[in-house]
């Protein structure tokens, strides 16, 4: 498969796995390799959808040789090609799909030619993989959404989506960790804390994690939300 390493800026390198259907798996294989063989201090890997970037913090680096670093990364990326992707933890996450938390559920159902119940059933029967942590602290792009639920983003993003809102678009779903503007179709709400600054690893969902959702009642949502 095609793979290339490029210098994006004088303190940023990128491994690009191209448009290969397995590109995202390759990103997580390289990520797994980097967990076992950490880079020198000052070099932070950041995963993208089909690519993995290395951000350099020149103040923390003993020496700075971009070309040598690019070669080292090329070597790592090549040796990751036959490695298996990072196996994350398995998570079961509660979501309340009640209409009050799911402003787009009816429209999504109509768009897909399904009932709202069928949308919820399809969503809770899937298993999703966290392909990318981006956009907001703790925001996990989870791939693996059933093809029957493929809906485009909203034409005009909402100025404010509440914390915990579960959105879908294309082949992905995600939970907004904090209130923010957002353009995904909201079909439910999760009462858990997705990003907790008091924890050593603040993200509930991390790269490569495998996620399933289960439906909870409004009462249960309120109880869990109050316990946040």
């Amino acid at each position: 498969m095609d793979m290339s390493v490029s210098i994006v800026c004088d303190d940023m390198l990128m491994v690009d796995f191209g448009s290969h259907p397995q590109a995202n798996l390759r990103v997580r294989a390289l990520w797994a390799l980097l967990q076992d063989r950490p880079m020198m201090p000052g070099v932070s890997p950041v995963a993208g959808m089909n690519c993995l970037a290395f951000m350099l913090d020149t103040e923390l680096m003993e020496s700075m040789d971009l070309d040598a670093l690019a070669l080292e990364i090329q070597g790592l990326a090549e040796s990751s090609l036959n490695k298996s992707p990072l196996a994350g933890k398995a998570l079961e996450i509660p979501v309340c799909y009640d209409a009050q938390f799911a402003p787009d559920l009816d429209r999504v159902a109509r768009h897909c030619g399904l009932t709202s119940k069928e949308v919820v059933r399809l969503h809770t029967s899937g298993r999703y993989t966290a392909q990318l942590i981006g956009f907001l602290p703790g925001f996990a792009y989870m791939g693996g959404l059933d093809a029957a639920l493929n809906v485009p983003r909203l034409d005009t993003p909402r100025p404010k989506v509440p914390a915990g809102a579960l959105g879908i678009t294309g082949t992905q779903c995600a939970i907004y960790p904090t209130a923010s503007p957002g353009g995904w179709n909201l079909i439910g709400r999760c009462p858990l804390v997705l990003f907790d600054a008091a924890k050593e690893s603040p993200c509930l969902i991390q790269l490569g994690d495998s996620v399933r959702f289960f439906s909870i009642s409004v009462d249960e949502f309120e109880r869990l939300w109050a316990a946040r």
Partner: protein, 346 residues
């Protein structure tokens, strides 16, 4: 009891900043911290702090601060108009780019900037806001750390504030010709020297050296001439997350659809509206817009000075030039602490 400073007027946007949060990129939390972390580090060194101490970032129009105790401060960055007064005495201008001993009971009124948009104020002992995720700084976009400064904020300094202030005072005092000033004088005490600052010599034009971004190749020649020929304005809605530029819209019809990829401080994106958007220290860690330029690392301090009054000109450079400037910048960073130590004689 720690030294405290009372905020009387918050200014346009005043926040507590330090070197930010460096280790949370995989959690999608950008580093944040001072928009020009090097200049805050320098201000810290001038008051005897560790480079990593927290200070204030002042933006556009500065705050009014009342000093309940005698404290050594240093204000670095863009030249801000600021005056110090004690009681009913007439006010004197605050000397910049050097340590200044502010007497107890003094008020500093930071006003507008003569050039530029941001300055950083370090206080002996550092501001002791609570630490969250390895930093005391405000990350406004992620709603982490202390909120922005308001008229009710009291800033508590670290326990080293008083002894460090005394230490700097003795250094300045012993080096000055006028040795008769008693140590607890109500006068402003500052050395005659200051650190040079040439960052804004071309103000209001900010010439920003850039490398071509990953999707630059999709821009037609005509669009490239506009990109590099235009003096771009900075929209007032710009913030610590990014600069929204205004000028002629670039044609985006040839731009590819891209998947989210990692971005950093200095990445220039081109959304479908055709107006470039420059990411700042509180940027999102990934972005799905085409990236047309990357600001070289050495030019980020200049980006921090972009205001609605400035004009941004993108200057294309190659990687060799970017590396050279970065190496020069690092050398300066290494030289500054030594120069300060020499000036303060420790």
């Amino acid at each position: 009891m720690g030294c405290t400073i009372r905020v009387e007027q918050p200014g346009l946007l005043t926040t507590i900043q330090d070197q930010g949060r460096r280790s949370f990129l995989p959690s999608a939390l950008s580093r944040g911290g001072a928009q020009d972390s090097t200049t805050l580090a320098t201000a810290n060194l001038l008051v005897g702090n560790d480079e990593s101490a927290a200070g204030l970032e002042i933006t556009g129009l500065g705050p009014t601060l009342f000093f309940e105790h005698r404290v050594c401060i240093a204000c670095c960055g863009a030249p801000v108009k600021a005056s110090v007064s004690v009681g009913k005495d007439h006010s004197t201008p605050l000397p910049l780019h050097r340590p200044v001993i502010i007497p107890a009971g003094a008020t500093i009124r930071f006003a507008h900037f003569l050039r530029g948009f941001r300055a950083w104020v370090a206080f002996a002992g550092g501001i002791h806001s609570p630490v969250s995720l390895e930093s005391r700084s405000s990350h406004l976009a992620a709603e982490l750390g202390p909120p922005r400064i308001t008229a009710k904020t009291r800033l508590t300094l670290g326990p080293a504030a008083a002894p460090q202030t005394d230490r700097v005072f003795l250094r300045i005092h012993s080096a000055s010709a006028d040795q008769n000033t008693p140590p607890n004088s109500a006068a402003l005490i500052a050395p005659k020297w200051s650190l040079a600052n040439h960052l804004l010599d071309q103000w209001p034009v900010l010439t920003i050296p850039v490398l071509p971004g990953r999707h630059f190749e999709y821009l037609a020649d005509s669009e490239r001439s506009v990109l590099f020929g235009e003096q771009w304005l900075v929209e007032p809605r710009s913030n610590r997350q990014g600069l929204a530029l205004s000028g002629p819209a670039l044609k985006t019809s040839e731009m590819p659809q891209i998947m989210s990829e990692p971005v950093r401080f200095g990445t220039v994106q081109l959304p479908s509206g055709g107006k470039p958007f420059v990411l700042m220290s509180e940027h999102q860690t990934t972005g799905g817009y085409p990236r047309i330029l990357e600001v070289i690392s050495a030019a980020r301090p200049l980006l921090a000075q972009a205001s609605p009054e400035s004009r941004i000109v993108f200057l294309p450079v190659d990687l060799a030039q970017a590396k050279e400037r970065s190496a020069l910048g690092l050398k300066d960073q290494l030289r500054t602490p030594a120069a300060i130590k020499e000036k303060l004689g420790w």
